[in-house]
Structure formats: C-alpha cells, structure tokens
Amino acid sequence: MHIVVCTKQTPDSAAKLAVDDAGHVSWGDSPIVINPWDEYAVEEALLLKDRIDGDVQVVVISMGPEEALEALKHAIAMGCDRAIRIWDEAFAGSDTLATSYVLARAIEKIGDVGMVLFGKSAIDSQTGQVAVAVARRLGFSPLTNVIKIAEIDGASMTAERLLEEGRQVVQAPLPAVVGTTKGINEPRYPSFMGIRKATRAEYPLWTAGDIGAAADKVGAAGSGVRWERIFAPPAREGSAEIVAADTVEESARILVDKLLAEKVI
C-alpha cells in the first residue's frame, strides 16, 4: 500500500511580508520552507506506516515549481520513502479546483493508494480546500481536521475530527483522505542521516503529460476562482491606551467603565 503525503512550500511563518502595487508578495531573506502544517501530515504518515501491517511505502508529492523541492527534501529527511514533484508551466495559476484535479491524477498514477494525508491548510493562500476536493474527485473517504487516528487496519479507520462543539468520532473505509491538524502528533526533526538521504535522493518530475492531465482542467482554464488583488490591510493606528491608576482596583474599575462605554460587555 502507498500512503501519499501532499505538501507545499511556503515562506516561513515568521517572515515579514511586503506587497508591491502590482500585488507581488515578497518575504525578504526569509527562507522557503515546507508548509508548517504539512509536517504533521508527514509525521502521521510515518507513524501510520508502522501501524499498518504489510508493505507500506510513504510517497511525498508536491505540485509546484522548483522551490517545491524544499518541501520534498524536508519530508524525505523526516523519513518518507520517495518524492515526486508535479509541475508543468500549464499548471501556473491553478486554483483549488484545478490543483485538486492535478493531485488526484498524480495519486491515481501512483496507484495502490490507501491513504492521502494533508496539512490543515497552506499558511500562504490559506484556503484549506484541496484535501476535501481531492477526496471528492477520487471518491475516497473525506476525513478532515483529524486530531487522532484511533484505529487503522488495511481496510478501514476510526478517527477523531475537530468540530466547533467537540470531537466527532468517524469510522470510514480506506482509501481515505486525511486532513491532519495540530495536536495529532509532534513532528520529528530530520536526523543527520535523514538530511544526508534527502541530499542524495532523486526527485522525479511529473508533467501534465505524465499524469494525463487535460489542458482545460488545469491552470487558469481549469480554475473557478480568479485572484485579483493582494494588498496590505490598513494599519492599526497608535498603541494601547494604558490604564494606570494609583491602585490595581482603581485601574480595574476604570477599565470596566471603558469597556461598558464601548458597549462590548
């Protein structure tokens, strides 16, 4: 069985972002890293490999230009068995509808896939839509916001999913798409050996032709959503009004009065 992990490269979460008038986003000298949420997906795939009997291989894939190699290398260094980059000039400008099509085709080509794991969302575009869309396209069980995989065998799984009111316990057959969330595990750091392995590993590239992607299903032509403008939000003016009376009790009373005046309590 193959367990596939889908990853993406993003700027570091601590990066200071800048955006120019044309809407191009830059992040100074901050590094490009594996999307932080995806580390939970990689870790869970490696844990599942040990929990499932039989021959299980963890394949990490990423749809993206050459920078996507950073995400793949990190995943290999953590312990994934092999990596595939999926890219074609024709894929540029894909929204989540088109991206899910490309990933679904690649997953079909990998074959014998029991599970597909995703991070919660990418920290840049932040849609969190691709996992569900891939599940829908492939007809796999859709399990998102998974915080615990309680049971797993070669045929089915039981997972705890986060919802607003608590945790839903769901039993579903494989193959399944699992969207992971923080709290499901503690992602490991790549070992020295892992980093060496990642340096030497091969990173084959699959193009539109390799996965049999139709031209009208990818890129802008295959997308439903068009991104128009990216801009910085209006800055908040000034800093806090500091309440500092003679005693803590008096400060507290003044604060409460202010909140009452603001009509928020």
Partner: protein, 327 residues
C-alpha cells in the same frame, strides 16, 4: 428572471449555527440587486422547527431535508444533496459559513458542480454584476480579493462574525418545501460512531467575548483567574500557543496562526506577549485589552486598552470590578 442564492443552514443537534443566519442576512442584501430567491437549505433529522427561524432570518423558501441519514453531518450525503439542489434551482451563488463543516462542504460542492469556491471571505460586494470577495491570506498579514468570473454557481464560505447577524422578523412569510435526501444509507461509506464534548465547550469562532491566557499564567493552575474572568463575562476561554505547547490547556483553546482565528467584540489577552503568530488569530477583534507585566510587550501595540502589571493581581481585580458594576 432573477438570480437565486442558496444558503446552507448549519445545525448541530437542532441548534442552529450563527454563521448560517449571517449568511441569510448577506443573501437578503445581495438579492436586492440580484433579484432572485433566497433558498435556505436545511438538512438534519428532526430539524423542521428551524425552518420558520430560517424564514424569519431572511429565507424566501426553505428546502428541508429531514431524514435519519442526515442526522450527523457527513460530507457525502450533505454535499451530494446541496449540489443537487443548486442545479435544480439554478443557483447563482451558494453561501456557506466557514465553520469546520462548512469549510468541507464548500469545496466538495464546488468539485461536484465544477465551479469555484472562495474560502473564508470577510467581505463580499457586488461590482459590475459580479461578487467580489475579500479574504485574508498569510494569516491575515495580507488581504486578497477574488471572484468566480465565469462558472456558476459561485461558492463562498463566509467567516463567522465577519457579516452582521440580522434581526429575525417573525412576521416574514416563506415557503417550506420538503426534499428527499439524494443518497441512501447504503450509499454512504462513513459512520459517525461517537461524539466527545469539549471540556468547557469551546466555540471560539462564535464567541462575542474571549479571555485568553498565555505564557504569563505560568502553569495549568495559573489559568484559574483567567477562567474566573471568562466566567464573569460569559466568555470563551482562549490560550496562546505557548500555553498550549506547554501542556497547560488543550489545543482546542488555541488562538493564533496555528490555532483558531477569531474576531470577537472583546478580546482580553492575559499574560500574552503578542507574537505575530498570535496576533494573526485575533487582530480583527473589535476591542482588544491586554494585561501584561512587560510594558514593552508587542501586544500593547495592537491592544486598545492595556494594564501593565501582574496578571494575578490585575485579572482578579477586573473580575471583582465587573461583578461590582454588573451586579
């Protein structure tokens, strides 16, 4: 002929989710220009009572699917039915609250209908006859605008509390139409086998007031005064990543880039320095109060009001002052 809007009405055990009413309010405003019908899509088991409520909040028609297969939210039967209703009623727009369930439903329906879904919108406006959505990216450090230029229907998930909740009007009239589920139980592979309630019931996304604790609380017991203040304000309890990673409080409470994004009327940050990742999750709060012993903490740049001091003295004093004022 006008352009129809479908709004998904989310409920859990018969309790409606506020973002659905916010969506109906938005749909009503949009329909003034689009001119079509506003359909509320209400799925569940024994939820017919909510149909009148949906009309009061703005629906012209309620498409009510009341069936045991729809008792728990499961993506397969819900998405199949919503996509089917969108086709049947030639929807121009589908609005879905960007809750955990809604953020699954939106993209799934979009795949079924081969159309675009714009995630987590904080504003939605009509420009030259089309809807233009604003949505935060990079954890709110930047904003973007998106539209679905050609395909129909256009699907939008709307962030909870980003759109005003309308006043219900019990005098509004509307039609309730029963619809049958599309999938039978034998066509749905997944089973909901249990539900684990969250300790203290954390619904941060919906909360009007959130009181959060951070590294400054010092340990699990340190949350006691923060909890007391939350209780006095009838607020939800939040936490920073530092407090969650230290194991002082479960992940469900975490606010920030790797936790929940919230925008309450009032956010009280106790012992939270205000790292950029935390700010990402709460910066759109209407009024922010910070209590921190470090006057230089970045949270004071974002907060509207601040008290510099020991939270173990300040927070109980605020709780006492509240009880005194509010009785």
């Amino acid at each position: 002929m006008g352009k129809n809007i479908l709004v998904w009405i989310e409920q859990f055990r018969g309790q409606p989710a506020s973002p659905s009413w916010e969506g109906l309010g938005l749909a009503r405003r949009l329909s003034e220009t689009l001119g079509g019908q506003v359909y509320a899509c209400l799925f569940g088991d024994g939820v017919q009572e909510l149909a009148q409520e949906a009309i009061a909040y703005g629906a012209d028609q309620v498409l009510l699917a009341d069936d045991a297969t729809l008792a728990d939210f499961r993506l397969e039967p819900y998405a199949a039915l919503l996509a089917h209703l969108a086709r049947e009623h030639e929807a121009e727009v589908i609005l879905i609250g960007a809750t955990f369930r809604g953020r699954d439903l939106g993209p799934a329906v979009a795949v079924d209908l081969d159309t675009g879904c714009v995630a987590d919108c904080t504003a939605l406006e009509l420009a030259d006859g089309q809807l233009v959505a604003t949505r935060p990216i990079y954890a709110g450090k930047l904003l973007s605008t998106c539209r679905v230029p050609e395909r129909r229907p256009a699907v939008f998930t709307t962030r909870p509390r980003a759109f005003p909740k309308p006043e219900p009007d019990a005098a509004r009239s509307g039609q309730v139409v029963a619809v049958a589920p599309l999938l039978g139980e034998d066509q749905v592979a997944s089973r909901v086998t249990g539900f684990l309630e969250t300790e203290g019931g954390v619904n941060l996304a919906d909360a009007a007031i959130i009181v959060s604790g951070g590294r400054g609380v010092g340990g699990p017991e340190g949350f006691a005064p923060v909890r007391d203040l939350a209780q006095a304000l009838n607020a939800a309890l939040g936490a920073s990543r530092a407090a969650v990673d230290a194991g002082w409080i479960p992940y469900e409470h975490q606010v920030g880039q790797t936790g929940k994004t919230v925008s309450p009327d009032l956010y009280v940050a106790c012992g939270i320095s205000g790292a950029i990742q935390h700010q990402a999750g709460m910066r759109t709060s209407k009024v922010i109060v910070a209590v921190n012993k470090d006057a230089e903490a970045p949270i004071f740049q974002l907060a509207h009001y601040g008290i510099v001091g020991d939270l173990f003295k300040v927070v109980p004093a605020v709780t006492a002052a509240l009880k005194e004022k509010l009785g």
